[in-house]
Amino acid sequence: MQTAVIRFPASNCDRDAAVALEKVTGRAPIMVWHRETELPDGIDFVVMPGGFSYGDYLRSGAIASRSPIVRDIKAKSEAGLPVAGFCNGFQVLTEAGMLPGALMRNKNLKFVCRPERLTVANANTRYTKHYAPKSEVTFPVAHHDGNYFADKDTLNRIEKEGRVTFRYVSNPNGSLNDIAGIVNKAGNVFGMMPHPERAIDDMHGGTDGLGLFKSIIESI
């Protein structure tokens, strides 16, 4: 099992993602610099970490989503490579068109950081199998642009297809349908605004996030 974490300029949860992946897989991920044009051979799972890639200038995730490495990851994801994005990583995935919708400025316009209760909206995906259906987990959120938006048709479609994986219990940012996380149609690309990688340790944020990493790793 070899995982990879993509580092953009001003990614800042890259180490956190690496710690989580090493904890679950027993092996340190390869850290891939954004200027690379191709993933190294033999990568089984890619994480787009949180942060403020390129300072979040223009739009959160916008510039990162146009970097050479993302082009390669997008192509490989279309061939089935599992890719997860947390926080800024989720923003990159939507900007890259790998997940539907967009993340807009929080409804109250303020950055919000707090432990957030989420319900597992679909426990039957590659990323959520370890959770009981409708169970509740707590992951920290920390974002300024986490307000999930999609047009009506898209929203109806992802709801109908069971692609909403997590919902906020008390919506911190104005996301439509309380959406906290979604998967693509094939189920291999996943994004969420909360930080599962910050919930893998009793000393820090609890261990609710482990189930997510175990789910995807075991599915590979």
Binding site: P9, A10, N12, C13, R15, D16, V19, G50, G51, F52, Y54, G55, D56, Y57, K110, F111, V112, C113, R114, P115, P140, A142, H144, H195, E197, R198, I200, D201, M203, H204, G205
Partner: protein, 736 residues
């Protein structure tokens, strides 16, 4: 320099230099300076850079100790935390810029203090901030709070360093002059600390980071000037922060520091290129020659004067090992940062600047730094206030109402609205933060079982009432707060915010506070390793309350034995360590319930503090307690409420055995700790305390869903919590 500069007395005055200071410059140079040289002298001799009013008093501080690797004088202080690890930390003010442009002022304050820490080889691991705003009803307060908080968050969150704690006060004394003090804590290897002394002759000097623009020209002299009503017009001198570049700069510097390429490194902070180059040269006893044409510039046609005085952010200066130039270029270019070889070290002892093929400055470095003015300003001692007895102070007839008013008062109300805007969890080592309302933040040393505890404290109303006792109290409270989480307190940084030092009564506050602080430092073997002085915090002649903010750092050797206030359990007994006399002078009770701010503040008995604190720490390490909270602002009642909020348990406080109920519940006697103790530990905890000569008594119990005090109040925990949480959001949303 054939052409003589025309320096008029007006130009000298505009540069904030006195006639006598200018006479010294003429004497040292043996000629008239040109405008660039005058500018350089003016920033180096400003209060901000030269500490000319404070230097002789700061020199009295205890600055050494077993764990001190680097004391004051470098970018930040360095302490040893075992196993080859070191902690690098400092606190700094950004008061004036934050008043003029709250978002950018606060943001660049955070950026500056982070640079001070990573310049020395540390990865920043935690940020704290100590904020003082004007009264909540003042028309400018809301706008300042929201701008400052957004600025701190905007910068720290983006760079990816958790903001883990701090404090916020409101008082009319800050209406025209807020305080924004930011602290950064970093982690380094003890054998890989980087200093600022340039060494050798002919070594290359590199400029790294953002380009130089006309930002903040004269920021350093502005920070040392009083405000007046025209301050809003000073806006153009405020710098704009770029946290994205800062993040790249951190990563690039740490990457280069892992090699042996760097001889010396210095952040270009206030007074930018001037102070960084002069400090590096002065400390290394060398000269420096810079070709200003090589400086990366953001705007066309910049003059030498502008480049030397610019305060553009996110820039560093370094002396590189000859032969390692390519390595440095490669790393900075990888991180897409501007990098330029702008000069070299020389053996002349002079600062020589060239611009457009002309020599525009040639001045000896020694007088700029070492011979800077060093004033012994006249100071008068603050008059002692009357000691108030609780029995002479009006007792409330409605304790429920009094408790509610105190728990919703500006200084006691929850600051969730603020700290929820800060990322407290990034780096995933935050064990405890503002989130629990605890005494100190706890940040794990990555990959180990140890942690650092961090706190900032100051009680300005005490310092105003009695600078000496108040100064002692600031240091003692940090020491107590670190103790509460089970840490060994190690050292402090300070940010000394005062008014105009040319007024003897202000200088008296400054001198008194330092004496008190220093006495506490000695009593606890708790040295000052870094700090900053901010004077002239006045508007229209009205000085702020004296505010020597103290940042304390301690070590928790084993996280298994750390402590918080969250763990109080149903059925626990509440034990109060320390003596309660019911001290209400200068208390929150007095100000909030009786609208009085008089009376002497509580005295601090340092040997009792030490005895009590050492005992509490021992109880924590022996796992004798479930929760610990420092008993300070608002007294026993507020302490118990905060423990109730954090643990979700009700609290029951018994009536006093002697003395008045208001003094018992709201008195602010020092050296006290509230402990939640399981039944079978109660007797041993009290008996051992008595044997050591420590006051310890049962003051109540934990459990239920109410906050009760016999003969006083009885309120619902959830209602009180809701009110405590609602005050700041209501103020900020305009419903207050």
């Amino acid at each position: 320099m054939a052409k003589k500069s025309e320096i008029t007395p007006e130009i000298v005055a505009e540069h904030g230099l006195s006639e006598s200071e200018y006479a010294i410059i003429l004497d040292r140079l043996g000629r008239e300076p040109n405008l660039t040289e005058l500018g350089i002298f003016s920033v180096m001799w400003s209060e901000h850079c030269s500490y000319k009013s404070s230097r002789r008093h700061l020199a009295k501080f205890l600055t050494t100790g077993d764990r001190v690797i680097q004391g004051p004088g470098e970018n930040a202080g360095v302490i040893d935390i075992n196993d080859g690890d070191a902690i690098i930390f400092k606190m700094e003010s950004h008061n004036h810029p934050s008043y003029i442009e709250p978002y950018q002022g606060a943001a660049t304050g955070v950026g500056g203090i982070m640079r001070d820490v990573f310049t020395m080889g540390a990865r920043p691991i935690a940020l704290m901030n100590a904020l003082r705003f004007g009264e909540p009803t003042h028309w400018k307060t809301k706008q300042l709070v929201s701008g400052v908080v957004a600025g701190i968050g905007g910068y720290g969150n983006c760079v990816g360093v958790p903001t883990v704690g701090g404090e916020t006060n409101f008082h009319k004394g800050y209406n025209g002059n807020i305080l924004v003090n930011a602290m950064c804590v970093g982690l380094a290897k003890a054998d890989n600390i980087f200093l600022s002394a340039a060494k050798g002759v002919g070594n290359p000097i590199f400029y790294v980071g953002s380009k130089t623009g006309r930002d903040g020209i004269h920021g350093a002299t502005m920070a040392s000037a009083e405000f007046d009503d025209d301050s809003d017009e000073k806006r153009p001198t405020v710098q704009v922060g770029d946290p994205f570049t800062e993040k790249l700069l951190i990563e690039a510097c740490l990457e280069l520091m892992a090699t042996d390429a760097i001889i010396a490194i210095q952040d270009m902070g206030a007074a930018g290129l001037t102070s960084s180059s002069i400090e590096m040269a002065d400390k290394g006893g060398v000269g420096i020659q810079i070709n200003l044409d090589k400086v990366p510039q953001r705007e066309p046609n910049m003059t030498a004067y502008e480049m030397m005085l610019s305060e553009s952010q996110e820039r560093m200066l370094m002396v590189i090992q000859p032969g390692k130039e390519k390595l440095a270029y490669d790393i900075f270019e990888k991180w897409e940062l501007d990098v330029a070889l702008i000069g070299k070290t020389t053996d002349t002892g002079n600062l020589v600047l060239k611009h457009k093929r002309k020599k525009v400055c040639d001045i000896p470095i020694a007088p700029l730094a070492d011979d800077a003015p060093n004033y012994d300003r006249p100071h008068v001692k603050t008059e002692a206030r009357e000691v108030l007895e609780a029995r002479d102070i009006h007792e409330t007839q409605d304790y429920n109402d009094a408790l509610l008013r105190i728990m919703t008062s500006p200084d006691i109300a929850s600051k969730r609205w603020i700290w929820e805007q800060y990322d407290r969890h990034v780096m995933t080592d935050t064990v405890d933060s503002s989130q629990s309302g605890g005494d100190a933040a706890i940040v794990r040393v990555h990959g180990t079982k140890k942690a650092v505890a961090i706190t900032t404290d100051c009680t300005p109303r005490y310092v105003y009432a009695d600078p000496y006792e108040g100064g002692k109290q600031c240091v003692a409270e940090t020491w107590r707060n670190l103790t509460c989480v089970g840490a060994d307190p190690i050292a402090i940084t300070d940010c000394l915010n005062f008014g105009n030092p040319e007024r003897p009564e202000i200088m008296g506050q400054f001198v008194g506070a330092i004496e008190g602080m220093n006495e506490a430092c000695h009593a606890f073997d708790y040295p000052v390793v870094s700090g900053n002085v901010s004077l002239y915090n006045e508007t229209n002649g009205q000085a702020i309350p004296p505010t020597p903010a103290v940042g304390g750092v301690g070590l928790i050797p084993d996280l298994e034995k750390h402590m918080t206030l969250k763990g109080a359990k149903d059925g626990d007994t509440l034990i109060l360590i320390g003596d309660t006399t019911g001290w209400l002078g200068s208390s929150i009770y007095l100000s909030e319930i009786l609208s009085r701010e008089d009376g002497a503040p509580p005295p601090v008995n340092l040997s009792t503090e030490k005895l009590n604190g050492d005992y509490v720490r021992k109880l924590i390490r022996g796992r004798r307690v479930n929760a610990v909270h420092d008993c300070s602002d608002g007294g026993l009642a507020v302490t118990a409420c905060e423990m109730a909020f954090a643990s979700g348990q009700g609290m029951h406080i018994v009536a006093p055995t002697n003395g008045k109920t208001h003094g018992w519940l709201f008195g602010e006697d020092q050296a006290r700790y509230l402990l939640a103790v399981e039944e079978n530990s109660v007797n041993p905890v009290i008996a051992t305390a008595k044997a050591k000569g420590i006051e310890a008594q049962i003051v109540g119990s934990v459990g239920g869903d109410r906050i009760k005090a016999d003969g006083a109040f009885d309120v619902s925990l959830e209602k009180l919590r809701a009110a405590n949480e609602a005050w700041l959001p209501n103020l900020m949303n305009g419903d207050a």
